[in-house]
């Protein structure tokens, strides 16, 4: 069947009453949790994972599409009203969105974020619809050695783009890879890194690790900072909407943002950080209102928000066609797939056509619902910002525990989650990013499979990764991404203030 036929089929499934309700529920709950301060989209998905548990895979993924977009939109709301980005990609939004809100223009900032996200999300989804099946066919040709190299590239780019120290990022990554190896080796039955603990033979549950690193760590961090005065949210005065002038200044940044976000996000190396920062810098350069930047320029919200949403959609391309997540949020989606015993990758479009196409159709629906639900309801979401932090933290921990326990029925895994919560907080304090850790834990086992396959084909010759030309080129790009930022930083160091 051709793409359009498949897509129509997907809409046929997604538009059933049950799935429409699930999409609506997903968008609503996603926004609800995402709007809570400090909870980014990855945490939102981690906390809401158990809710989708009872549905069939198709229904669950329809809901996930909603949660994905809802969580992201909730994140930009806190960025604008509280100056708290839920994740790195939302930082540019805080730069202009928060000043706008303080000048009484919160309504316009929220509107340009919502409409920009809708525009970018819809364009990106159309492109993905046609791009992904083709990518999937290309992905089928990829041999194990190249697959391994692509994963190395994904790790390197994600690590060097996130956080400020490549060494600390890589340290997190290698710990994540180790976590992924805990348990019985699937090929030989050999226990590894289990320290004789029977509970560890099945491996460390990535759900417990993720919930711990994201949700529990957030709670510990709130406790550690309890004496610091909380920042009251900016109130939304006036109507949520844009003036003619706002529209005139927003539409080009939306399209440019999409142009940055979609291609970069679609690469198995991208993530959402680079395009949002790029978009911010470009809008600043192109704007006729340069003097407004830093004081609340609407272009600085419109561009990065569109770029963020486009990249979020683009990230689904490597996730669905290669099984490679390039952001913490995408890792959470991969975990969700794995819970349902669905392995994204080149075969996904052939093996699970109903699931994939319903998911893609749900992206269209989720985008529309987000716009229809959020603009009118924004005042309701804003009320959530005034929930006392003490109750909020208690609720987060309750849901985190409930999530891990209901998936595993095991107190041991709950304790694992708490342990990783403590670890996540310590790492954060010391300036180590946690996203590479979760990426390594999720992707590590798949990487090892490709590594061993490649060596099996080469009859144990480890030079296979550098003697195959395509693999060599990919690895060289990875080295460049690793060394490049260090060199650039060395060169520009005198210009930067120390520390």
């Amino acid at each position: 069947m051709d793409v359009l036929g498949n897509l129509l089929d997907g809409f046929g499934h997604a538009l059933s009453l049950q799935n429409l309700l699930l999409a609506m529920l997903g968008v609503t709950v996603g926004t609800l949790v995402g709007v809570l301060p400090g909870l980014g989209p990855a945490t939102t998905i981690a906390l809401l994972l158990p809710l989708t548990f009872v549905f069939d895979p198709v229904g669950a993924f329809v809901m996930f599409a909603g949660i994905y977009y809802g969580g992201m939109y909730g994140g930009s709301t806190t960025a604008i009203l509280l100056n708290i980005p839920g994740e790195t990609a939302s930082i540019p939004t805080t730069l202009e969105g928060y000043p706008m809100a303080r000048r009484g223009r919160a309504g316009a900032a929220l509107a340009t974020a919502a409409i920009g996200s809708f525009v970018a999300g819809t364009i990106s989804t159309v492109v993905i619809t046609f791009l992904a099946p083709g990518m999937s066919n290309i992905a089928k040709l990829i041999q194990p050695a190249e697959y391994f190299s692509i994963m190395v590239l994904a790790f390197v780019t994600v690590t060097s783009l996130m956080g400020d120290s490549i060494v600390r990022g890589l340290s997190s990554l290698f710990i994540g890879l180790t976590i992924g190896m805990v348990g019985i080796d699937r090929m030989t039955g050999q226990p590894r890194f289990a320290f004789g603990v029977p509970e560890l033979y099945e491996g460390l549950s990535v759900v417990a690790v993720a919930v711990g690193l994201f949700a529990v760590a957030e709670a510990v961090s709130t406790a550690a900072a309890r004496h610091r005065p909380a920042q009251p949210p900016v109130t939304v005065a006036g109507r949520v909407g844009m003036t003619r002038e706002d529209w005139r200044r927003s539409w080009r940044p939306w399209l440019r943002g999409t142009l940055f976000g979609l291609p970069i996000g679609s690469l198995p190396a991208g993530g959402a950080e680079l395009p949002t920062f790029l978009s911010y810098n470009v809008e600043k350069r192109l704007s006729k209102h340069k003097e407004e930047f830093g004081q609340g320029a609407i272009e600085g919200v419109a561009g990065p928000e569109a770029a963020n949403n486009a990249a979020f959609s683009g990230v689904l391309v490597p996730l669905l066609t290669l099984g490679i997540p390039t952001s913490a949020t995408a890792s959470m989606l991969l975990i969700a797939f794995q819970i349902y015993n669905v392995q994204p990758g080149p075969q996904l479009f052939d093996q699970q056509p109903v699931l994939v196409w319903t998911l893609i159709a749900s992206l269209y629906i989720g985008n529309v619902m987000l716009l229809v639900l959020n603009l009118p309801l924004i005042r309701v979401w804003v009320k959530l910002l005034s929930v006392p932090p003490a109750l909020l933290t208690a609720a987060i921990l309750t849901f985190a525990t409930l999530g891990v326990y209901s998936i595993s029925q095991s107190v041991f895994e709950v304790l694992i989650a708490y342990g990783f919560g403590l670890l996540g907080w310590v790492l954060h304090r010391a300036g180590y990013p946690v996203a590479p850790l979760i990426l390594g834990a999720v992707l590590g086992p798949l990487m090892e499979v490709q590594f061993r396959r490649a060596l099996a084909f080469s009859e144990g010759d480890p030079t296979v990764f550098v003697t195959r030309p395509v693999s060599l080129v990919i690895l060289l790009i990875a080295v460049a991404c690793l060394v490049g930022p260090v060199v650039v930083r060395r060169r520009t160091k005198p210009a930067l203030p120390a520390g």
């Binding site: 400090g38 980014g40 989209p41 990855a42 945490t43 009872v54 790195t88 990609a89 930082i91 805080t94 400020d164 120290s165 060494v167 340290s171 290698f174 710990i175 890879l177 180790t178 080796d185 090929m187 030989t188 050999q190 590894r192 890194f193 994201f214 961090s221 406790a223 550690a224 900072a225 309890r226 004496h227 950080e273 810098n281 003490a390 933290t393 208690a394 921990l397 309750t398 849901f399 525990t401 409930l402 209901s406 709950v414 708490y418 996540g424 954060h428 304090r429 010391a430 300036g431 990013p433 990487m447 590594f451 061993r452 060596l455 099996a456 144990g460 930083r489 930067l496 120390a498 520390g499």
Partner: protein
């Protein structure tokens, strides 16, 4: 300071990973590569970056992470453990004092919650835990906290155990409906 301790922690982890990797048997001769190769690769990688990490952390005048060029000028956003981690200017945890009693009490509450979850029952343990965490975080409105905790605990219990069919520990007092 934190960074120095943590960098040493990573070094210790590297030693453990390498030692464990070497203890994995080579595998039989039929396979080109056994269960040991990948762990060794990861162990060596971790060892290399953790040594560099220690050197960087102990270098005189080492600052806890220079602000990345792109976001310099951005306010370091308060506490942002979620999402993609510790970018966004400086090492976020270092800018304020850590309230250690709260952290320790929270960890104690978590440990107690995990251990009481099954014997005491889900909604019972959750209510107590909710109130305890709220108190640790400075809430002094006991009645409100108890009500909020009870409502949350019972609502999630009924949603998961009765509606979604995910069994949660019933504990001492079984609810009739």
């Amino acid at each position: 300071m934190t960074q120095r301790i943590v960098s040493l922690g990573f070094l210790a982890a590297a030693v453990v990973v390498l030692a464990q990797a070497f203890s994995i048997p080579q595998g039989n001769g039929y396979q080109a590569v056994g269960p040991r190769a990948f762990p060794l690769l990861v162990g060596v990688g971790l060892a290399v970056v953790s040594v560099i990490g220690v050197v960087q952390a102990f270098r005189p005048g080492a600052a806890p992470g220079a602000a990345p060029a792109v976001v310099s000028g951005a306010d370091a956003p308060g506490e942002d453990t979620s999402g993609e981690g510790a970018s966004g200017g400086g090492a976020p945890g270092e800018d304020g004092e850590t309230h250690w009693p709260s952290v320790l009490m929270l960890l104690g509450a978590l440990a107690a919650y995990a251990l009481l979850l099954v014997p005491a029952g889900y909604w019972q343990a959750t209510t107590v835990f909710f109130v305890a965490v709220a108190r640790v975080l400075g809430s002094r409105r006991l009645v409100r906290d108890v009500l909020a905790g009870l409502v949350l605990a019972l609502a999630t219990y009924f949603l998961f155990d009765r509606l979604l069919g995910i069994t949660l520990p019933p504990g001492l007092i079984r609810l009739a409906f």
